[in-house]
Amino acid sequence: MIKRISNLDKNKTINRRLFILGSAKVGLLGLITARLYNLQISEKKKYETLSDKNRFREWKTPPKRGVITDFYNNIIADNKRVYQVYLSLDETKNFNNSIFKLKNIIGLSDAELSNIYKKKQKIKPWDTIMVSENLSWEKFSKLNLYLHEIEGAKPVLSTSRYYPYSNDLVHIIGYVGDASADDITKNKKIEENFVPGLKVGKIGIENSTDQILIGNYGIKRYEVNSSGKKIREISYKKETQGENLRTTIDIEVQRLAQKLLDNKAGSICAMDIYNGEIIALASSPTYDPNKFTYGINKKDWHEIKNNKLRPLINKSIAGLYSPGSTIKPLVALAALEYGIINPDLKIKCKGHDHPYELYGQKYHCWKKEGHGIMSLRNAIKQSCDTYFYEVARLLGVDKLSIIAKRYGLGTKVLENIFPEEKKGLVPSTKWKKQVLEQSWYLGETVITGIGQGYIQTTPLQLCLMTAQLANGGFKIKPNIIYNSNFNYEEILSKIQSEKNKPIEENILQDRNINLYEKLYKNPKNIKIVLDAMYGSTNEKFGTSFGSRHKDKKYRYAGKTGTSQVRRITEKDRELDLDTSEIEYKNRDHALFVAFAPYDKPKYAISVLVEHGGSGSKAAAPLAKMLIKKIIDRDKEREIKREELKII
């Protein structure tokens, strides 16, 4: 009986306790349900995203670069098919083994090998590593033969930059290389499209037009498993190639210009005097841009870097030289425009025995025996220094400076394309006071009159100066990238209507002049100067008479220049050595500027040969050959221009 009661009691207890436990269970189940609701319904989006992030991985594929052509569609920067081999780490069980086999098949150097190991440290265990960027076809096909033996090896067909005219255009086009951290931060387009393996322009047009040339990368989406192994491709947004770019360069003229400078240090520029299209922009010595695509090797780099003739400098835009006598037409023009002299002014050049004297300082003409009595035309033609000493003295450096700047000296010509372009220097009294904190001496004016002293110009500036004289004195804008908006007929008609406009009073003041506006006060003065330049090339005693073209079609007008690289001493004068007898670094620079054809001017050129000696002997003969080529190509250029208009 007692047991009964006890059992009843126990049953009561157990039921009560079970009820409490049951309530707790219901509570806990509620908790789990709430949690599941929270995970699967409230925060589904978040976890779905996380799940997708887990299983999708994106591989960016580098875009193809736009192709660069010359004016005639000749490709000057191309995309070449290259054979590469990668190693995908997640498919490689034994990395060392695979690398060893690859080494034997494609022949890797120790340096390359250590580079690969270095790269491996930096990447994730499921990434791929580039083993060789540029394999020959033989090695590539050999690799494919043994592919099954090498775990994780991936042969890839890719494209890379290739410059078919290797050395001929490097200073214009530049070259590409791997994007550096600096490139990425500086250029937004590169930052946005950065993909490992993306090549970016390092210098030249490749660099300044990266914006256009770099396309948009592609995206391959893969599903991957937890160890990063690709399971399948989900989608592929194809990369887009960058836009193609047409330059104004004529590859044939460019190649000739480059060839003319073979074994010399110097520059040749050629441009259209109306639309400013640069036809050739040669600089010598040169080097092969293709070497830079995969990183240049040390030996080649040292060879280029340590070359005394400085191949890395684009001399056309970044080389600074005293213009020498090539500035004389401009000095004459300034003096005429300001009414300082008239063309009939006669000055006697008496030779080295009786040099030009100012405050006890002697200024010699280059001609030992003297030119005799000179008029303006003769003085330009025969390049008489004595005459221009006096003209410069009369004119004053400040007036000369206004005119020199107006015709293109002292400012960058193509500033946006070549960041390394130099401004040069057109001195004035104000400049000297501000920069050197000294007052100007009249003697400095005198030597500025023959393009010596402080004045510094780039060959392209001299070419522009000549072009703006040859086109009758109108401001133009040189360009090297073809722009269809520059309509030739439009420019000509603009210039025509500008000619008929009345001349403004303040034209000779230091003021800004707009594109295609006139630079002169009196067009007659320009004619006088151009006529004198004609004489210089086409008449006896002219300094470039020896390099003239007899055929009227090629006839051109030019001005020689010889720029001293050091002060000529009395002893030098006595010795009177021939160029070849002087030490190379002390030889004069030879310069020449010209425009052609004379009857209907269309092109201007400038030639500079560093330490070449005299302009008439070293520079003018090169100009002669180049002008022939340019004129021969003129018709074709016109045809092409019409063609481009239709497009």
Partner: protein, 375 residues
């Protein structure tokens, strides 16, 4: 032994068959079927090693469950302590002859399969305690003599299991034992006192934990502290469950498991896989099946005449609830990852065996519900 039980005088075989709880069997079969499909999914829809093994075990142990159901409940009562001692003996055996895997020594090689005695202990402790409290009068429960004994009975196996180390199973063993003590009617104050003691000694407990256990607990509070290490499992599990959404990604479509982001997907994280593929609705349905199972066991408990059977049924149902709760709470991030399988669903022979034995005792309680276990 079995045959003698089956040929009981009081019950004809037909009677026995009649009193079998078929609904319970149906639920077990349903969960079993779901488990096979889930394991099949962990193998990306290939009928290979795990699925095959799981199916074989399910069939074998389910048959064992049916057969053992006809063992008299009084037999279980009589041999309760022997069962406990056997499990304890096997646990000790593990120390000497155990097989190690991934840093812990939990198994004994039985040639047919590797037995995990700690799983057996989960049931043994319930049977043992049911018998223990069956005989004690309500008034005596609170005497020190009867307090110390169950305490030691829990402590010994728990210690052995913790040193394997296997914190999860130890907690489940202790939990099952405590549940029965609770049901037996020990004064609430003891639970409150020991609860407080646990809290007070928590710093000490933490200091003796293994480093990996510590990091698991730290990770529980902030999985992001080591997303690729200790926090990886729970982060990936939450991602899998969360991305399943309302209806799930579909059978065999669980990307988290298919792409191997999910660790231990056939054992402790089987619920995660199921939840990813069948979503909130599927999960609720599966939980509901477990609730039904537990409800059914409690119902059987009510119908039992003997206190032993009642206590066993209620205790086992509570233990079952504990297993399910700990596992799911763990994979959804409500509890630290301690390593506890989901009954029937998880791949693992010993767990399946112990659950089936546990269920067979329940069924025996049902069949022999009117039997008085002791004179």
């Amino acid at each position: 032994m079995i045959s003698s039980s089956l040929n009981s005088l009081n019950y004809s075989f037909i009677d026995k068959l009649k009193s079998v709880d078929y609904f319970l069997i149906l639920i077990v079969l349903l969960i079993g079927a779901i488990s096979v499909f889930s394991i099949y999914s962990t193998e990306n829809g290939e009928f290979s090693f795990y699925t095959k093994n799981h199916l074989i075990r399910l069939v074998a142990f389910f048959s064992l469950f049916l057969v053992l159901s006809f063992v008299r409940v009084s037999t279980w009562y009589k041999h309760a302590y022997i069962f406990y001692l056997l499990a304890l003996f096997l646990l000790i055996l593990v120390i000497f002859f155990g097989i190690s895997a991934s840093g812990s020594k939990r198994w004994i090689n039985l040639f047919v399969f590797n037995l995990q005695p700690s799983e057996l202990m989960k049931i043994a402790v319930i049977v043992c305690f049911a018998r223990y409290y069956h005989r004690i009068q309500s008034a005596d429960i609170e005497s020190y003599k009867y307090l110390i004994q169950p305490f030691i009975l829990i402590l010994i196996p728990c210690y052995l299991v913790i040193t394997q180390p296997d914190l999860g199973t130890a907690i489940l063993i202790a939990g099952s034992g405590i549940a029965i003590i609770w049901l037996a009617g020990l004064n609430i104050k003891y639970f409150i006192y020991s609860g407080l003691m646990v809290i007070v000694s928590l710093p000490f407990i933490i200091s003796i934990l293994k480093p990996y256990q510590k990091s698991r607990i730290l990770t529980f509070f902030n999985p992001e502290r080591d997303p690729l290490g200790a926090g990886y499992q729970i982060i990936q599990s939450k991602i899998a469950i969360g991305s399943g959404g309302m209806y799930g990604k579909g059978f065999l479509q669980g990307t988290q498991s298919y792409l191997e982001f999910l660790p231990e997907k056939h054992t402790d994280f089987i619920f995660t896989l199921f939840s990813e593929e069948f979503g909130f609705l599927g999960s609720i349905l599966l939980i509901f099946l477990y609730v039904l199972l537990i409800y059914r066991i409690i119902k059987i408990g009510f119908s039992c005449r003997s206190f032993f059977a009642k206590l066993y049924c209620f205790g086992f149902s509570s233990a079952l609830f504990l297993y399910v709760f700990v596992n799911i709470a763990m994979v959804v991030g409500l509890l630290p990852i301690v390593g506890a399988p989901l009954p029937i669903m998880s791949y693992g022979g010993s767990s399946m065996l112990s659950i089936m034995i546990g269920l067979s005792i329940v069924m025996s309680c049902k069949i022999y519900s009117h039997e008085i276990v002791s004179k």
